[in-house]
């Protein structure tokens, strides 16, 4: 007999050495209750597979996100890229165009 079997047998003996009788009041209660019980078939509720639920909820979250993202997004103010000021001296056939750009620093000295 192996060591494992040996210890298993010992534990089994020790565990099975303690045995309790079913108390008489419990038996009586049980007997009284069984009179009213009628055997029935257990109706098994078919559960939807888990992955269907996960897929559905993921699709719903994605749809909500796609719908709400453009709605909740803050409207950006249009940025002025450049300001053009045109002067036309018709009699001298001259056209002057001032172009003011964002990268042109008015108060910065050129190095």
């Amino acid at each position: 007999m192996t060591d494992k079997q040996n210890i298993d047998d010992k534990i089994t003996k020790l565990v099975q050495s303690l045995e309790s009788e079913i108390p008489a009041p419990v038996e009586e209660k049980l007997r009284a209750k069984t009179v009213t019980i009628r055997p029935v078939y257990k109706i098994r509720v078919k559960r939807r597979p888990l992955f269907i639920g996960i897929l559905t909820s993921a699709a719903v979250i994605l749809a909500v996100f796609l719908f709400l993202f453009p709605v909740l997004q803050k409207r950006r103010e249009p940025q002025i890229a450049e300001i053009r000021t045109e002067f036309e001296l018709r009699d001298k056939n001259i056209k002057i165009i001032f172009i003011q750009r964002s990268d042109f620093n008015l108060f910065k000295e050129d190095r």
């Binding site: 210890i7 534990i11 020790l14 050495s17 045995e19 108390p23 055997p39 029935v40 078939y41």
Partner: protein, 193 residues
């Protein structure tokens, strides 16, 4: 025709025929007979396991006062759904699966309340072996998690195989072997082997 005694006492088991005479409702009688037979068959199958089942629940719940209620619920549920039991399956495993579910339900319902084990009830039990060692083993079992304790007693007390325990408790065979190995090595130290 032999009239079922259960039907005689039940006025609803009689119907009026075309001539407005009372006659026994055969369809109902057959149903009653069927139900009665199911009940008898259940007790025939369950009676030899009653004592062992009670002790298994008692041990799994650390000899708690709730063990009696859980035992009652197990038997009543098994009787109620006995018609769903498939004949090709093992009745004992089916019965213990219900017990396992009832124990699980008990722990779920009493999550907030701490389960007070009543190891003093051990003293009122029949002892065939060295009591001190047995108490050591039970004290070890008391520390285990509920599911582990169930596995422990299903193997060492009820004598189920690992595959049967796997079906009852719903754990993989590897996990059950792990629990049993841990128990084996711990108890080995406890009893000084």
């Amino acid at each position: 025709m032999k009239i079922n005694e259960a039907c005689l006492g039940n006025p609803s088991s009689f119907i009026l025929d075309k001539e407005e005479k009372l006659r026994p409702d055969i369809s109902r009688m057959k149903r009653n007979d069927e139900l009665e037979a199911a009940g008898i068959l259940f007790w025939e199958l369950a009676s030899p396991h009653k004592q062992k089942l009670y002790n298994f629940i008692l041990k799994s719940l650390n000899y708690s006062e709730f063990a009696d209620d859980v035992f009652q619920e197990t038997v009543l549920r098994a009787l109620k759904y006995f018609k769903s039991f498939k004949k090709e399956k093992n009745f004992t495993t089916w019965l213990y699966t219900i017990a396992h579910n009832e124990i699980k339900r008990h722990y779920k319902e009493n999550k907030k309340r701490t389960l007070i084990s009543d190891m003093d009830r051990l003293k009122g039990t029949r002892v065939n072996n060295s009591q001190e060692l047995a108490e050591e083993v039970y004290r070890y079992a008391e520390q285990l998690k509920p599911k582990q304790r169930e596995v422990f007693f299903l193997f060492y007390y009820s004598g189920f195989t690992i595959s049967e325990i796997s079906r009852i408790v719903g754990l993989k065979a590897g996990n059950i072997k792990f629990i049993l190995n841990q128990a084996r090595s711990s108890i080995k130290k406890l009893i000084g082997e």
